[in-house]
């Protein structure tokens, strides 16, 4: 009697194990296949991107990796020694996506994950996220160490465009 109970129990548990594992896989795959259930974080095509700094900043060019370090706050100063104040567009901005992939070398989702790690481990906080390119231009015009990115057709009269090499 006892032996019978011992042989059926592990079999039942193994069956339950398989069911749990398979159900997790099936539900996840269904979510992947169902169209339109997720929220896309951006839709329109990006324009040509330029890097802008304050007009009083003597900087005329910056390396891509240096720029990446500034936006990931691995570098706290610009190459000319000025305290860096990077400024981002919101995560759903097409221009942000372009900047992230071209300059930071990773998708916006990976950058957001990087900042979640930094924020909740007390390492640092991300650059401010502004709603529009106009806000970015205004911020850069106000702050000497500011560096931002906007599209080339934005109103750039109050800021300076620098090259990226």
């Amino acid at each position: 009697m006892n032996r019978r109970r011992h042989t059926t129990e592990p079999r039942r548990e193994a069956k339950l194990t398989r069911r749990l594992f398979v159900s997790a896989a099936v539900v996840g795959l269904l979510q992947a296949l169902l169209p339109g259930t997720g929220r896309a974080f951006g839709a329109s095509p990006p324009g040509k991107l330029v890097i802008v700094v304050n007009r009083d900043n003597p900087l005329s060019a910056i390396g891509r990796r240096e720029l990446s370090d500034v936006f990931l706050k691995k570098a706290s100063r610009l190459p000319d020694g000025e305290i860096a104040r990077p400024v981002d567009l919101r995560a759903d901005s097409p221009l942000r996506r372009e900047f992230s992939e071209q300059v930071l070398g990773r998708p916006v989702s990976a950058v957001r994950s990087y900042w979640q790690q930094r924020i909740f481990s007390g390492r640092d906080v991300p650059p401010p996220e502004l709603a529009s390119e106009r806000d970015v231009v205004a911020y850069v015009a106000r702050n000497r160490g500011a560096v931002g990115y906007v599209s080339a057709n934005a109103d750039l009269g109050t800021v300076k465009v620098i090259a990226v090499y």
């Binding site: 592990p10 548990e13 193994a14 339950l16 194990t17 398989r18 069911r19 749990l20 594992f21 398979v22 159900s23 997790a24 896989a25 539900v27 996840g28 979510q31 992947a32 259930t37 997720g38 929220r39 896309a40 974080f41 990796r65 990446s68 370090d69 691995k74 570098a75 706290s76 100063r77 305290i83 104040r85 400024v87 995560a91 759903d92 930071l104 070398g105 990773r106 998708p107 916006v108 989702s109 990976a110 957001r112 994950s113 979640q116 790690q117 924020i119 909740f120 481990s121 007390g122 640092d124 906080v125 991300p126 650059p127 401010p128 996220e129 502004l130 911020y139 106000r142």
Partner: protein, 393 residues
């Protein structure tokens, strides 16, 4: 305590604002709330999971402020419940003064997260990863009190190496305030726990975009006294496990050295990581037959995730834990864990996750949580399903 913490938070939060970027005088405020569910087909793991458990909750809020361009201060309050641990008791998860006067040299003092491997200091942060449970071989969630944070100081920096990329280093030293460890058997109690030191460091080299290679080391020592009950002491002395004349108090030093080698590579939507670790424990006492003088355990995993769309990211990992490298036979001598995870970003501040595990071995199971049943008598092959949702800002 909760009142004090709440009062402190409110005081700090007075005048707090979100990070809109116009001023360094602003206080940055971030927080998260998580609720999970855990169910196993057999064996209780982390909580009373066999019947299904919602005792899997976390909440945290942090405040940071740049006092000057070089000086930052901040703290995080954290409360959790995971089976028998946590019980929603809020505590200061970390707090610090951070003086970064060069990119290659900064000093942080206070209670700081321990940089061990790729993810130790972010192991509470559900939003920062795909799986619900990080590979438990290298990041055991029930070791949180011992491994997550230390109170002392840390130096850190980021050094650019030109074409060779950059190196981030961190080195720390201090102590850990924690509750006494669980006694090894009934009839034994633990008192007078102290940790004279913990120190260690991590070096992460990023030769190209997306690739990180690193190594971490940590050393610490626990001192405590075992109190052996007379009912236990007599038989132990009779069989020679405890020498005659020793006890009932047994002073013990427990030295632990941990190292891990790490690799992470992000290529577009694909994230791959792998780590291999060994933890070495050495007991020093007058009863070496009772407490093994030298134990080495082995821990490693490989993990990959793929961001299919901005809102859906599946991932898998395989994790191995061997508590004693010299004894690998038997279900209690290992725990192999194959996991598949699905992360669903409902919006930029709310995620839902689903995860399935297929496990073989019982090495990481807690005897007390399993009604006193020894690991060798628990079910060898078992499964686990987890659900978790997290909101964060």
């Amino acid at each position: 305590m909760a009142m004090v913490l709440a009062g402190t938070s409110l005081a700090f939060a007075a005048g707090a604002q979100t990070n809109d970027g116009d001023t360094t005088t602003a206080v940055d405020v971030h927080g998260f709330v998580s609720q999970g569910f855990i169910k196993t087909s057999a064996n209780d793991y982390l909580a009373h999971s066999k019947r299904g458990s919602f005792e899997f909750s976390e909440a945290g809020i942090n405040f940071t402020k740049s006092v000057t361009d070089d000086l930052r201060v901040g703290f995080q309050l954290f409360a959790q419940d995971l089976g028998p641990t946590g019980d929603y008791r809020p505590k200061f998860d970390w707090y610090f003064l951070d003086w970064r006067f060069r990119d290659w040299l900064g000093i942080r003092a206070g209670r700081t997260k321990i940089p061990f491997g790729l993810y130790n200091e972010t192991s509470d942060i559900d939003a920062a990863r795909v799986p619900i449970l990080l590979p438990q071989s290298v990041y055991p969630i029930d070791h949180r009190d011992y491994l997550l944070a230390q109170t002392g100081a840390e130096v850190y920096g980021n050094v650019r190496l030109g074409a060779a990329g950059s190196v981030e280093y961190r080195a720390y030293g201090g102590t850990i305030f924690t509750d006494p460890p669980k006694p090894p058997a009934s009839g034994i109690s633990v008192d007078d726990l102290q940790m004279p030191y913990v120190y260690g460091g991590r070096v992460l080299w990023s030769p190209i975009d997306g690739l990180s290679l690193g190594g971490s080391y940590q050393a610490l020592r626990f001192d405590w006294t075992y109190q052996l009950s007379p009912e236990l002491l007599g038989p132990l002395q009779t069989v020679g496990v405890v020498p005659a004349g020793v006890g009932p108090s047994l002073a013990t030093k427990f030295r632990v050295k941990l190292w891990v080698g790490s690799l992470e590579y992000q290529a577009g939507p694909v994230l791959f990581s792998a780590e291999y670790a060994r933890w070495i424990g050495e007991f020093e006492s007058l009863a070496p037959k009772l407490l093994p003088p030298h134990v080495v355990n082995e821990r490693y995993y490989g993990m990959v995730s793929l961001r299919v769309t901005p809102w859906f990211t599946p991932g898998i990992y395989y994790s191995v834990y061997v508590p004693n490298v010299e004894h690998r036979e038997g279900r209690e001598s290992h725990q192999y864990d194959a996991a598949v995870s699905f992360r669903y970003d409902l919006n930029p501040h709310w995620i839902l996750k689903l995860e399935g595990h297929y496990l073989e071995g019982t090495a990481a199971l807690d005897k007390d949580l399993n009604g006193g049943v020894e690991a060798k008598d628990l079910t060898k092959t078992w499964g686990m399903l987890l659900l978790k949702t997290t909101a964060y800002f």
